[in-house]
Amino acid sequence: MLRFLLIRLCRAALTVALVVTFAFVVLRMSGDPALIIMSVDAPPEAIAAFRKAWGLDDPIWLQYLRYFSAIGQGELGQSMRDGRPAMQLVLERIPATLALTLPALALKLGIGIPAGIYAALHRDSLMDRIVMVTAVAGFTVPSFVLGLVLVLVFSVQLGWLPSGGQESWRHAILPVLTLGIGGAAVLARFTRSAMLEVLGQSYIRTASAKGVPWSRVVRGHALPNAAVPTVTVVGFMVGSLIAGAVVVESVFSWPGVGRLLVVAVANRDLAVVQCILLLVAMTMVSANLIVDLLYGLLDPRLRSGAKAGAH
């Protein structure tokens, strides 16, 4: 177990390092922050001065080393745009992002999982078909199309809800819906197939043979088993809590991390991008790790390697 954790942690650290390195190389080679931040119309000498000041003239490997040794000292750098600490910029955005993604996650779970379970329990019924077609449709509409249509209906036509911005909880309703619907659809499909798989297992029959009423069989016996595959998807959703709402944030002018990432990438504001990537990669990697540990919790068979080779 310890060994397992150790390997996982090593892998996680390497993954994060790989992400940061990759982003560094790609971003530095594909755009000059000076030209972008100073704007192309700035005097060439101003651009040269900017480059010099930020060390953008140095060979890329030197910049890379400098960047990494700074990280080693806990120094995550400053935004090239306004000179403020990059991490501060990112942290300022996190509450807004979470205010969007957490309710959306709740929505995904709250709609997707029950819908999936329902469809599985009533397999091949009319409702099953309806739920599944709705789910697939919900998943296939690009989120910005959905967002724009929601705004047209609920803001412009009906005037019920604001169309963008982040002033009150009412502002969050439409973006949360937009984000939630697609995810709920994915989750519903996943839950359904996980549930169907479990319902075919013989321990479900055993439970019935004991005289356990069907509703309790479903709750007590099927659900805990169906949770295992579902957790994977949920883990992925949790992993993308931070930067998973880029498009929706843009459509709803929601000042979240996703938008910051887009802007920072466009500006090649490296320190900011890297801070976000660090957070994103760490969230994703820890979500993965938690999922792995949860597997063990949900399914005791996975707790030990005991059965690995036995047959």
């Binding site: 594909s30 755009g31 000059d32 030209l35 972008i36 931040i37 100073m38 704007s39 192309v40 119309d41 700035a42 005097p43 060439p44 000498e45 101003a46 651009i47 040269a48 001065a49 900017f50 010099k52 000041a53 400053q78 935004s79 745009r81 306004d82 000179g83 403020r84 910029l89 300022e92 724009l148 705004v151 047209l152 803001s155 412009v156 005037g159 604001p162 169309s163 963008g164 911005g165 982040q166 843009s250 459509v251 709803f252 002018s253 000042p255 938008r259 910051l260 802007v263 466009a266 500006n267 090649r268």
Partner: protein, 519 residues
């Protein structure tokens, strides 16, 4: 006493590129919108509601002492946002070393070179290195400010310069409060909340999100009509329009021309705005194999039906200008000049003469960095195709990729402005020897370079005009460096009920003269 002045919200595509509200750092159109005339004011102002002609600003009058010196009388009783009175000291500080020029030295007699060295750390009050560089480009030879008395200052130049008044009125020469700058802990602290004399002051700035300006009630021009102005960043066009229609925003800026009729379908709304001091160009790289021959470039300039683009994509709301110049140049304006005429036959002939074989000519552009950019590019490509030119669009992600010096650089998009009313501010500054086009190694022309120096240093107005005319001939006809497509325009949508008039610029004027509230 209850303050029942209205507060308004303005949806813009971008608040500021640099996340800073310093005029020397944020050198962009979008910056102009939030700065002028709400926040920053210069000594010589512009008539934002008129035709941008010079008008008294923080200076009430000015006069030439000699070729190198201008004297200005400061307006009295002007209060900064922090309550300080504007004095000559603030003006001198604004144009001083600490704030503007850093270690740079004024040049005398030559355009400034690119290779000077500046130091600069980040977290200190020390100026970011690019600020002095920008300032020196605006004021290449300014020796300094002479304080004559509390309300009188003199600008002293190292070289004779007929454009000094223009430079005083230009973007970047606005006045700031000395005490506030000195008291701020870091440069960026100051630059996110600069203390100036404008009718509105910064209440809260959330970079990339919103900027809240509130009324500066001691404003010299009278109590501002609005309690607060909130700029919110709404990158999506549709979202800006939707927010306007649903009443969330009072103004929606950066409206693409195609949306105008849609918005105005609703009788309660209107779209204002029009041309600005900015021309859209297509720029040539004369080193590209296919473009070495000026005939090919000339063919390209004649193959474009500019008026059709203006009429369709711009709904006729902009114009095809007379080359890279603006009427506000006054007597420097070459009024009988025009862009190359649309003549498909001529274009085809030129192509034939040039011996061009149909090899691809890459055309680099950004994805709608300029209004209608992608649409225009696709039309241009088709128009060129009709003339027998095989132009291939290559969408790039940023300017480095556009400017990257490779054998595939041939045609690209650009725009040019004129920060003040003289061709030096456009032709020389953009296409002269130190201009971006030559610095990027796309194009050069010995004669034009000579003329650049003349235009910059000469005080003989007739000779200057002749030089400028010749420069236009070279750069737009003989050895095309670029070709002007159309003037740029910006459009702002608002409820008809709000009595407010748009400027022929990005700047939005919310002073009392331009606000009639609900009519």
């Amino acid at each position: 006493q209850a303050d029942n002045r209205p507060s308004i919200t303005i949806a813009v595509q971008k608040i500021a590129n640099s996340n800073l509200l310093d005029v020397l750092r944020e050198q962009s159109n979008v910056g102009e919108r939030v700065f002028f005339s709400s926040l920053w004011e210069g000594l010589i102002g512009r008539n934002w509601t008129g035709n941008l002609e010079s008008v008294p600003g923080l200076a009430t009058e000015w006069k030439r002492i000699d070729d190198k010196t201008v004297e200005l009388k400061l307006r009295q009783g002007v209060k900064f946002h922090n309550g300080d009175e504007l004095t000559a000291d603030d003006v001198a500080f604004t144009f001083g070393k600490e704030r503007m020029f850093g270690d740079t030295q004024p040049a005398a007699g030559k355009t400034i070179s690119v290779d000077f060295v500046v130091g600069g750390g980040r977290a200190s009050k020390e100026l970011p290195a690019e600020v002095p560089a920008v300032a020196r480009r605006s004021w290449p030879a300014l020796l300094g400010i002479q304080i004559i008395d509390k309300y009188t200052v003199r600008f002293v130049n190292g070289t004779p310069d007929v454009t000094m008044e223009g430079r005083i009125s230009r973007y970047g020469s606005e006045i700031m409060n000395r005490r506030a700058f000195e008291e701020a802990k870091t440069y960026s602290d100051w630059a996110m909340k600069p203390v100036t004399t404008g009718p509105y002051r910064v209440a809260e700035y959330r970079p990339d999100v919103s900027l809240l300006l509130e009324a500066h009630d001691e404003y010299w021009g009278g109590r501002p009509p609005l309690k607060s102005i909130r700029f919110v960043e709404v990158p999506e066009t549709a979202s800006r329009i939707n927010g306007l229609l649903s009443g969330q925003y009072q103004f929606a800026c950066d409206i693409p021309p195609d949306q105008i009729s849609q918005i105005e379908k609703n009788a309660a709304f209107e779209v204002q705005g029009g041309t600005i001091l900015n021309h859209r160009l297509t720029v040539f790289d004369k080193n590209h194999t296919q473009l070495q021959n000026p005939l090919v470039r000339r063919a390209m300039t004649h193959a474009i039906d500019r008026q059709a683009i203006v009429d369709s994509l711009w709904a006729g709301r902009t114009v095809v200008p007379k080359g890279l110049q603006w009427p506000y140049y006054g007597d420097m304006f070459v009024s009988d000049w025009s862009v190359p005429a649309f003549d498909l036959k001529l274009a085809k002939d030129l192509v034939k003469q040039s011996g061009y074989k149909g090899d691809p000519i890459p055309y680099r552009l950004l994805n709608n960095y300029y209004t209608n950019q992608t649409a225009t590019a696709q039309i241009l490509a088709e128009m060129w195709k009709e003339a027998g030119l095989n132009v291939e669009i290559q969408v790039k992600e940023n300017w480095q990729q556009i400017l990257e010096r490779t054998p595939t650089r041939a045609v690209r998009d650009w725009s040019n402005s004129a920060p003040f009313n003289d061709p030096v501010s456009s032709m020389v500054s953009q296409h002269g020897p130190n201009g971006q086009q030559q610095q990027a190694g796309e194009w050069t022309n010995a004669e034009l370079n000579q003329l650049s120096v003349e235009l910059e240093t000469s005080t003989d107005r007739a000779r200057r005009k002749a030089a400028f005319r010749r420069m236009l001939e070279i750069a737009e006809r003989e050895d095309p460096a670029y070709t002007v497509l159309h003037q740029n325009a910006t459009f702002t949508a608002k409820p008809k009920a709000l009595a407010w008039k748009a400027s022929p610029a990005f700047a939005m004027d919310f002073r009392a003269e331009n606000w009639g509230g609900r009519s």
